[in-house]
């Protein structure tokens, strides 16, 4: 009798434990060429769960997806075994494109900070993107160059990855609409180390501004080699430039005249909740946060808000994310019906004396979704 009672109590408690606890899969590229950004994404998700999800018994399990689509799909399939109600999915566009059909078949929402436009254009109801897509940040990027800096003859260097080509297409379209079409463009492979050939040919086109849409290392290499060879053109770079680790590769004087678009710039905020986030992030990880970390923090915080509001299953979570707005630290998030949750952007600029940029302009509700 005693044994039966004990077994029943153990069963009840374990059942309660199973119902309350959930492991959130964090499937991100920690190795490979996108590891810097992927690590920031992981950190943001982990920090949100650590700070906001403990009372729900929420935990994270981080899996490195590398940079191959197969790696991402394998990680997602394995994660599905735990029947989670959502997953933090890779910020790498090609990996997301491979993961979406798998998530659709399983009916599981994916929370991502991928910038690749196409991931929300496939008609999946399971994609929730908490980083402004190219239709937001590239509009801000182009507008700042043309309307604020007066560019009329822009040149563009972009990465040949899916990320780079997607952003380049949006930049070209917006610049043409603004009456400042590109006078030079070049795709650069991630492995290219010497940027001087592109810079030299670009000079022949006599541009008045240099736009970059490159990953971190390539961004720093272009700016450094441009400045070392006496190229004084103003630069408006992609979001990789605002990352503190990218700025650390350059001298403050090389950063003079350099601006960058981003969803947010945590290190630029001097007070308020974002500054508190930055301080907590530094304490947690010993590094500076970037916009990817903050966006993924906000995205995971929105998931936690959904669960606190009673969303338990994957269907509940998907419906809640699709139908509610959430005031995050960086901005207010609301789906546009396709899973694009972020609609604001900022442009930050360096003053040539410091590696910490200042926010030069905020672009709110760029695509008209609120």
């Amino acid at each position: 009798m005693f044994l039966k009672k004990t077994a029943l109590v153990v069963l009840i408690f374990s059942a309660i434990g199973t119902a309350r606890a959930e492991t959130l899969p964090v499937l991100v590229p920690i190795t490979g060429f996108l590891s810097l950004e992927g690590t920031a994404q992981r950190n943001g998700a982990v920090m949100a769960v650590d700070m906001l999800g403990k009372e729900l018994g929420l935990e994270t399990e981080v899996t490195d997806t590398g940079t191959s689509p197969e790696g991402a799909v394998t990680a997602l399939r394995r994660a599905l075994g735990g029947a989670p109600s959502a997953a933090v999915a890779s910020m790498l566009g090609t990996q997301m494109l491979a993961m979406i059909p798998v998530a659709d078949r399983a009916g599981m929402p994916l929370l991502t900070v991928s910038g690749t436009a196409k991931i929300t254009e496939l008609g999946s109801g399971n994609v929730f993107r908490f980083f402004p897509g190219d239709s937001v940040v590239k509009v801000a990027h182009a507008k700042y160059a043309v309307e604020e800096l007066g560019a009329k003859r822009p040149a563009l260097l972009y990465q040949t990855t899916a990320y780079g080509q997607s952003g380049a297409a949006h930049l070209k379209k917006t610049l043409a609409e603004l009456g400042a079409p590109l006078v030079f463009e070049e795709g650069i492979d991630i492995s290219v180390k010497d940027m001087l050939p592109a810079l030299t040919r670009m000079q022949a086109a006599e541009p008045d501004i240099l736009l970059l849409h490159l990953h971190s290392g390539s961004t720093a290499l272009v700016i450094r080699q441009a400045r070392e060879t006496g190229n004084p053109l103003p630069v408006v770079a992609g979001s990789a430039m605002h990352q503190p680790t990218t700025a650390a590769l350059l001298n403050p004087e090389q950063l003079k005249g350099v601006c960058a678009e981003s969803a947010s710039s945590p290190v630029s905020e001097q007070s308020g909740p974002v500054a508190d986030f930055t301080a907590a992030y530094r304490k947690h990880f010993g590094t500076e946060p970037d916009a990817f970390a903050l966006a993924q923090y906000d995205g995971t915080a929105m998931l936690i808000a959904a669960k606190k509001a009673g969303a338990q299953s994957a269907d509940d979570v998907r419906a809640w994310l699709a139908g509610n707005s959430y005031d995050g630290l960086a901005m207010t998030y609301k789906s546009d019906g396709k899973g694009n949750m972020a609609h604001d952007a900022v442009v930050v600029c360096y003053d040539g004396a410091s590696r910490v940029p200042a926010i030069a302009k905020r672009y709110e509700n760029v695509d008209g979704i609120r």
Partner: protein
């Protein structure tokens, strides 16, 4: 394109090619010594870069002491690691098919990559500047002191390696073991010692390349594959087993990449490089400087 711009591009191409030459040299030394390809060579270059970043604060990087002072220390430490590398990746497997050594070097390369990721993080890092100060400007041509230091250091190291292997008794013993280990052992040379020394030399050169590249082009844990690929192409173009061929191949790659990219595009340069490699394999498989002695590969 102005002649000034062309000169600047040539200088960049030479500096890149010189650093590739150090990588390719280490690659050839191991091939000659044991008849196996060291697929960790790229990760060893990356490790050399991160080692220099880790050591820089201890030798006064903050005080502005040039990174070139680190070069002997990085080479010595990587050389010591080379002896351990030989005992880990080669000696236990020397009587197995060569593929076993390939796999063991790949495994060590991956371990190094993940270790670097865990210790230094994923972000690209800049190594210590080789020389303090800005370079001279000659008629509008900006001579970067870093590039000049890379060129000079690589030239000295390549020459010293050639002299060491060609003119010293130890170098001659290493070459004797590479050509015929049984005969070398018969005349009193200890092949295991010479092979370990070959690994030490190869890793010391990889470490030097890592230090020289890390400031100008940054280094990240995932760079190994790129360096390995360049070394492989350089050796194929130059000629397997030939030290001078490796240097020639590396310089050609550096110049080819930058010049073709300057006149066409990076995509064209990359495609043409691999087309050139295919043509070389088809029409001159021995490379530009075919091996004159019996190959062990």
């Amino acid at each position: 394109m102005t002649s000034l711009a062309l000169a600047q591009i040539l200088l960049n191409g030479l500096a890149l090619g010189a650093a590739y030459a150090l990588i390719a040299l280490g690659f050839v030394i191991v091939i000659n010594a044991v008849g196996a390809v060291n697929f960790a060579q790229g990760e060893l270059v990356m490790a050399g870069g991160f080692l220099s970043i880790a050591l820089a604060p201890f030798v006064g990087d903050a005080a502005g002491i040039p990174g070139l002072l680190l070069l002997p220390l990085v080479m010595a430490l990587m050389g010591l690691f080379g002896i351990g590398f030989a005992h880990l990746a080669y000696f236990p497997l020397k009587n197995r098919p060569p593929v076993a050594v390939f796999v063991s070097t790949i495994a060590i390369g991956l371990v190094l990559q993940h270790l670097a990721n865990a210790i230094f993080g994923a972000a690209p890092r800049a190594g210590p500047p080789l020389i303090a100060g800005d370079g001279p400007a000659l008629g509008g041509l900006t001579l970067s002191l870093q590039q000049l230091a890379v060129l000079a250091s690589a030239a000295i190291l390549v020459s010293a390696t050639g002299l060491f292997l060609g003119k010293t008794q130890t170098g001659r013993r290493m070459r004797a073991v590479a050509q015929d280990p049984e005969m070398a052992a018969a005349i009193g040379i200890r092949p295991a010692r010479m092979i370990a020394l070959s690994f030490a030399l190869a890793l010391a050169l990889a470490g030097a390349a890592g230090l020289l590249l890390s400031n100008q082009f940054f280094v990240s844990p995932n760079d190994g594959g790129l360096f390995m690929l360049k070394a492989y192409i350089a050796v194929t173009i130059g000629g397997w087993g030939r030290l001078d061929g490796a240097v020639l191949g590396a310089l050609l790659i550096g110049l080819f990449e930058t010049l073709v990219a300057a006149f066409t595009s990076y995509l064209a340069a990359e495609a043409l490089l691999y087309a050139m490699l295919l043509a070389m394999l088809a029409f001159r498989p021995g490379g530009l400087l075919p091996e004159r002695t019996r190959s062990r590969v």
